[in-house]
């Protein structure tokens, strides 16, 4: 249980809020690289800021204010040039650093004028990595974008994005809540399939550890022991807004009542012949069944979404009754408060990396190891989110067949 003031501290991420300041100390994934095969610019809203993400013809990614500083026109309807994004209203041209490069009529009237040097647009750095576009909305100097070791694993990768109509923090609390898996995913799935039991193995013990990049939660169920990797290695609540269980699930605040779920998934492929994926596809997953109007409940993360949105747009933590299964959640909240204080005090918060020597294929604990063998019975259906496009499924199957053939030949 929390006071409403403390709850607000955790949930509000707009500019100038404590949590907003904390989250702005980290690079956030905000889109897929492949989305810019079909478009040059798109409107995005991140932590309450309305912005436009674009790629110019030189290949620079920019993230600038949604509204042109001239007369506030919508730059999501602007057009890209060799360098920068040009407003469709009067043609002012902005580059990815926030500089104004051209003001057509102003420069016609005053060829020697310097008006363009006196205006700027809000601009944030964007970096492409692992098929994702990452933005940094905080003060300079920015920390390094983490170079997670998992990004280099061999396999078929895909990025899946969805918008969840609730606050980001209730999504992230799920990242350190082991017991929910038994009920929300195992037992409820059986009910949805019309099965009457037997129920999933019960959790008997939980453990939590801390490391440089967050927390690890560990579990023992009635069918496992202390020798099981779910206990010895555990799963990662990756600081500050991600779950890592071999794939990544970031929960990026769009604003205080909606969250961008950004998933980075990898499926192991057979054999060990070199495999290079030309491009990591990005697709957008629906959250609601258009026919029934109800939330989709068929896939693992969709089930999570149902739990999260069910808590309300912003979960009212003044009405909670926390129990033993919530120890991780309480630990997470406490650490969030501590790290907000650290930022207020001018310190770097947990998990920021500034030393390039430390940022080389950074290890994260993973059950099964980094280079897990592929299952022998062919490519597995995508179980995490509903709506995988046929072309992505087909590409995965083709990658599997290509690797299986290379393995058989080799």
């Amino acid at each position: 249980m929390l006071s409403s003031q403390r709850n607000k501290l955790l949930c509000e991420t707009g500019p100038g809020t404590s949590m907003g300041e904390l989250l702005r100390r980290y690079w956030q994934p905000i889109a897929g690289v492949s989305e810019f095969e079909q478009q040059d610019a798109k409107a995005v809203r991140i932590m309450g800021e309305d912005l436009v993400l674009y790629r110019d013809r030189e290949g620079n990614y920019g993230l600038v204010d949604r509204h042109c500083p001239h007369r506030r026109a919508d730059l999501a309807y602007g057009f890209t040039e060799d360098r920068g994004l040009r407003c469709n209203y009067h043609g002012w041209l902005w580059d990815h650093t926030g500089a104004c490069l051209h003001q057509p009529f102003e420069e016609t009237r005053h060829p020697e004028g310097t008006f363009r040097d006196k205006v700027r647009i809000k601009a944030y750095p964007v970096v492409a990595k692992a098929g994702l576009l990452w933005a940094y909305l905080g003060p300079q100097p920015a920390p390094l974008l983490p170079d997670w070791d998992r990004f280099y694993s061999r396999g078929y990768k895909q990025v899946v994005i969805s918008e969840i109509p609730c606050n980001w923090f209730q999504c992230q609390e799920n990242s350190i809540d082991p017991v929910h898996f038994e009920w929300l995913h195992s037992n409820w799935s059986m009910v949805l399939r019309g099965q009457d039991g037997p129920r999933a193995p019960t959790h008997t013990r939980l453990g939590f550890d801390e490391f440089d990049y967050g927390f690890v939660y560990r579990r023992i169920r009635e069918d496992t022991t202390e020798n099981d990797e779910l206990w010895t290695t555990g799963r990662v609540c990756l600081w500050p807004n991600c779950l890592y269980v071999g794939h990544f699930e970031w929960r990026v605040p769009i604003d205080d009542t909606s969250t961008l779920s950004v998933g980075w998934f990898i499926d192991e492929l057979p054999g060990d012949a070199p495999y290079e994926q030309e491009q990591i596809p990005t697709w957008h997953a629906p959250v609601r069944d258009e026919k029934t109007g109800r939330w989709i409940d068929t896939h693992v993360m969709n089930q999570d979404y149902i739990a999260w949105v069910g808590q309300g747009e912003i979960a009212d933590r003044t009405l909670e009754h926390l129990g033993e299964s919530d120890r991780g959640v309480i630990m997470l909240r406490k650490r969030m408060f501590d790290e907000m204080d650290a930022v207020t005090a001018g310190r770097d918060p947990l998990g920021t990396i500034r030393d390039p020597a430390r940022n080389d294929r950074v290890y994260l604990p993973i059950v099964g190891g980094l280079n897990r063998p592929a299952r022998g019975d062919g490519p597995q259906p995508f179980v995490f989110l509903a709506g995988q496009p046929d072309e992505v499924r087909t590409e995965h199957e083709q990658a599997w067949q290509q690797c299986a053939a290379a393995s058989a030949a080799g």
Binding site: R154, K157, T232, E278, L322, G323, I330, G368, N371, P373
Partner: protein, 145 residues
């Protein structure tokens, strides 16, 4: 590696335990020296100056490395944890209580009222009394009580 999987070749397969140890900058020798602690616990203990013997001593009391590191910082001894365990708390709760300035009697009262210790400690740290927290907990349940 924007948009592609290009990069260094995958490392050869090895035992999960060793791979994990190496991920934390540990060797097989470290694992032996710190047995039975796991790689992540060894990493955290070393980072915070907790010796293998001390980590094992805390573990015998049921206190994991994360809480042991905090306990040492608060100058709590393993022996001080025992009354907490005897009173039905998770041993590491003693550390949580000490951080919040709660006595065993206070923590027991909160527990009897249905607040597990980390929850109670956070509330106490925010200035709540048990009476206030109990009233707030039921405020939305029975408005006419």
């Amino acid at each position: 590696m924007a948009g592609t999987t290009a990069g260094p070749a995958p490392r050869p397969a090895e035992s999960y335990e060793l791979a994990e140890a190496r991920g934390y900058g540990l060797t097989a020798g470290d694992l032996r020296r710190w047995d039975p602690l796991s790689a992540i616990q060894i990493h955290w203990a070393r980072k915070h100056g907790l010796s293998p013997d001390d980590a094992r001593r805390w573990a015998r009391e049921g206190v994991g490395v994360r809480d042991a590191v905090r306990a040492v910082r608060l100058r709590i001894t393993p022996e001080q944890v025992r009354p907490w365990a005897a009173a039905g708390f998770v041993p590491g709760d003693a550390v949580e209580a000490a951080e919040a300035g709660m006595t065993l009697a206070e923590a027991t009262a909160w527990l009897r009222a249905g607040f597990i210790l980390p929850d109670a400690a956070l509330l106490v740290g925010d200035g709540w009394t048990l009476a206030e927290a109990t009233a707030a907990r039921y405020a939305g349940v029975n408005r006419y009580a």
